[in-house]
């Protein structure tokens, strides 16, 4: 739900909890396509140096750069939820949206070569399936304000209260 201080929700990952299992990717692709295929997942895990890992999905940026970049107006951003929608009829796979996205949150369908993006499972009652399934509770549906509050509370507990 949009609040007075911050409009848009997105799925965020806590890298200290993520173990890189990729179950989010199987479940996302299955939800969207009926098949398990990480190439069709809208959330993607990343691993570096054996121990650094996290997952990335659309960050529902304000005035999303991907929408601005699209030369064919195939991308639109819902004003209430911030969710990006891609019109497959207009998209021609030019990948300017991918250039514009700093987070690598947009992917290309290997069969159609068209762009795909997370829509927070807006059509499902229990919301983002990746969040539901993550075995380590590393994923959360959140807003920028909630992320900041969480970080401040964590800081207080770890550095002020515990010592």
């Amino acid at each position: 739900m949009p609040t007075s201080t911050s409009k848009y929700q997105y799925v965020a990952c806590d890298p200290t909890k993520c173990v890189g299992c990729q179950i989010c990717e199987y479940v996302c692709s299955q939800t969207k396509t009926g098949e398990f295929n990480t190439y069709r997942s809208r959330i993607r895990t990343v691993r570096e140096h054996k121990i650094l890992m996290t997952a990335v999905a659309c960050r529902t940026c304000e005035d999303a750069p991907c929408v601005i970049a699209c030369p064919r107006d195939a991308l639109t951003q819902d004003k209430v939820t911030g969710i990006i929608h891609i019109d497959a009829n207009r998209c021609d796979g030019c990948a300017w949206c991918i250039e514009a996205c700093d987070f690598g949150a947009i992917s290309i369908n290997p069969a159609t070569k068209l762009a795909e993006i997370c829509n927070l499972c807006e059509d499902l009652e229990d919301g983002p399936q990746c969040v539901k399934w993550c075995p380590k509770e590393a994923l959360a549906l959140t807003t920028p304000d909630q992320r900041a509050q969480k970080a401040r509370h964590k800081l207080v507990i770890e550095e002020v209260v515990k010592p």
Binding site: V19, G20, C21, I23, V27, T33, Y39, W133, P135, K136
Partner: protein
């Protein structure tokens, strides 16, 4: 058909060509995947009597039924060949992303024949197979090889199985690595090296569909939730390394080449110590909600930097069994093995043989001369630096000792005993050539027959009979006439997991109980949700018996006889002196009696051969023709 494409990819490295073999649904119902399917492909394709390092040997890779789906811990695959270490079936399991990409490439299995003239890597890109010059990859370690190939294509979803320098140098204890996991045992790496196959890369872009996705998702979700609770706690927080203190207390921790079962510095090489001092993070394989990989990190000191995941079997072999108390040396040695492509277990137990041989005066300091240590060194028990150095020497066949130890304990001891008139075979700790695991079976008597009769050699994972012994379900210090049935039962139970494959760490997460009644019904439901078949408890149980039987049949065809089911000399003749298991041995009479019981429980003849009717009953008519009695 759901769950399978019906197609096996054959690759001939000599002629650089490929062909497709189709298999009927009945074949999949019998062999499923993992070690059973890989061993069946080995039975079908390997020239009997061939030298394992010759073109007649074949690499058989079989996928996982649950790979590429959210079924927890289903991301595994099997690999089989004729083992250069044992001369019998060499079946291994690995896991993580390669299993997933294999499934998505829509090949149920990949069979690699022949030998390449030059170093080659193969790329299976969905249904396009290409051969590439691998000379630029030769000498790279396993992680470097995977990264180089991924960078070349610019796709981080391309997954690669490869060998490191150890496999390139035909070390019989070399492994095949992928995604930080290993098809570890029996010398798979040497087979790849003999074929000049440096790497096999797979990209699969197809979607995986199943017969009943709703049922599969519901079952998977419940198992995933259960996997966060107490049934997996020990794996998630401490990992299997917590076994060091346990085994030490029971007097079963192999110490100084299995001379003793207690190590005075066990605390310093324990999982608890690792957790407190060296743990960097816990990570997971693909498709795994448990996450048991405890990553240890050495940041400072003579063995830094070293980071890798630490398991019990790797740890005992490269700490207490070498008399080494310095965990940093152990971590470094394990990481070396992972990088260079060596089986940590066989490497550690071979090094400990060399250390004992040195202490007994068979070897001198000069025998350990190599590039880094031109004067040689004193390979005493407890010398961590020597242990680390030897891992590198073995991978590169560097110096007399590196070249000797790369052969494994069985051949190394035979060669030395012939050359020097010694009796080092008495402390060459292997069964059928495969080095032993981290449990001393002088006081685990049910387990002793499980190890002796093991088809790939002395293997705890395949036998699993240490479980009733250690838990106290039976008296581990004595034998009785139930032990044959018990050894059969545990090994066939393990074989079900190794065939699907599913990681055994999930076994309590179906109902809270790990036994057949607690697990088979849920597994049957999972199988049916993927394939649309009609498996029940009995059908699942049969998977294990078939898996074990096809491996046994392979061995019989390669000349196995009852005499090949033996225990190492030390376990017959030298009781331990200290600890909870001191004073015990398995006598030769006891072993022969246990073997009688075990063969009888299996429905085999007294000589251990398989009656024709038994094979036909299992649906293996062609096998009955060839080796049934």
């Amino acid at each position: 058909m759901h769950g399978y494409s019906g197609k096996i990819l054959h690759i001939d490295l000599t002629a650089r060509k490929t062909w497709v073999e189709t298999k009927p649904e009945e074949w999949y119902k019998m062999y499923i995947g993992g070690v059973a399917m890989a061993s069946r492909l080995a039975w079908e394709n390997i020239e009997s009597g061939c030298d394992p390092l010759s073109p007649g040997n074949v690499i058989c890779i079989a996928g996982g039924l649950f790979a590429g789906t959210p079924v927890p811990v289903g991301g595994k695959y099997g690999m089989a060949s004729k083992s250069p270490l044992t001369g019998f079936i060499g079946d291994s399991l690995s896991g993580s992303w390669l299993a997933v990409t294999l499934k998505r490439s829509e090949w149920d299995g990949i069979v690699i024949h022949g030998t390449s003239e030059d170093w080659v890597r193969v790329f299976v890109d969905d249904d396009r197979v290409t051969f590439h010059d691998a000379s630029n990859l030769v000498g790279l370690n396993t992680y470097e090889t995977e990264d180089a190939i991924r960078d070349e294509y610019g796709d981080d979803q391309i997954r690669t199985a490869c060998i490191g320098p150890a496999g390139e140098n035909l070390s019989r204890i070399a492994n095949v690595s992928n995604d930080g996991r290993k098809a570890g045992r029996t010398g798979q790496g040497a087979v790849w090296g003999s074929k000049k196959l440096k790497a096999l890369s797979i990209r699969g872009t197809k979607g995986v569909s199943v017969a009943d996705p709703d049922a599969l998702l519901q079952l998977s979700y419940d198992i995933l939730q259960a996997a966060q609770g107490p049934h997996t706690q020990k794996y998630r927080i401490l990992g299997t390394s917590s076994n060091v203190l346990n085994m030490n207390r029971l007097g079963l921790l192999p110490t100084r080449n299995y001379q003793q079962g207690t190590f005075e510095d066990a605390e310093l090489v324990s999982g608890e110590y690792l957790h407190e001092n060296y743990k960097a993070k816990t990570t997971a394989c693909a498709q795994c909600p448990i996450a048991c990989e405890q990553i240890g990190h050495v940041k400072e000191g003579p063995f830094a930097p070293a980071m890798g995941h630490i398991e019990y079997e790797s740890l005992f072999a490269l700490s207490s069994n070498c008399g080494v108390s310095d965990m940093e040396a152990s971590i470094k040695a394990i990481v070396n093995c992972n990088d260079l492509g060596l089986d940590t277990m066989s490497t550690g137990v071979t090094i400990s043989w060399a250390m004992e041989s040195y202490e007994k005066g068979v070897f001198t300091k000069e025998d350990f001369k190599c590039e880094k240590y031109p004067e040689g060194f004193e390979a005493r028990f407890g010398n961590g630096e020597a242990m680390v150095a030897l891992t590198e020497m073995i991978a590169h066949r560097d110096g007399y000792m590196g070249d000797l130890l790369a052969e494994g304990t069985k051949r190394a001891s035979a060669r030395v005993d012939e050359e020097r008139g010694t009796e080092t075979y008495k402390w060459a700790m292997n069964i059928k050539g495969l080095e032993l695991p981290g449990y001393d079976a002088r006081a685990l008597k049910t387990f002793s027959v499980g190890l002796a009769a093991g088809t790939r050699g002395g293997c705890h994972n395949r036998s699993a009979a240490y479980d009733p012994d250690i838990k106290g379900d039976v008296d581990r210090f004595t034998i009785d006439d139930t032990r044959g049935e018990l050894a059969k039962s545990t090994e066939e139970y393990a074989a079900v997991y190794d065939t699907l494959p599913l990681c055994k760490f999930i076994r309590r997460c179906f109902t809270g109980k790990a036994d057949r009644a607690g697990a088979w019904p849920a597994i049957a439901q999972l199988i049916n949700a993927v394939t649309g078949w009609d498996f029940d408890y009995d059908a699942v149980d049969l998977i294990g018996e078939r898996a074990h039987t096809i491996k046994k049949a392979f061995n019989i065809r390669e000349g196995w006889t009852r005499a090949d089911d033996y225990l190492p000399w030390r376990w017959h003749h030298e009781p331990m002196k200290e600890g909870a298991s001191a004073g015990h041995v398995v006598t030769e009479e006891e072993l022969e009696y246990l073997k009688d019981l075990y063969y009888e429980a299996k429905g085999w003849t007294k000589e251990g051969f398989i009656p024709k009717e038994k094979l036909i009953e299992l649906g293996m008519d062609d096998v009955a023709e060839e080796i049934g009695v």
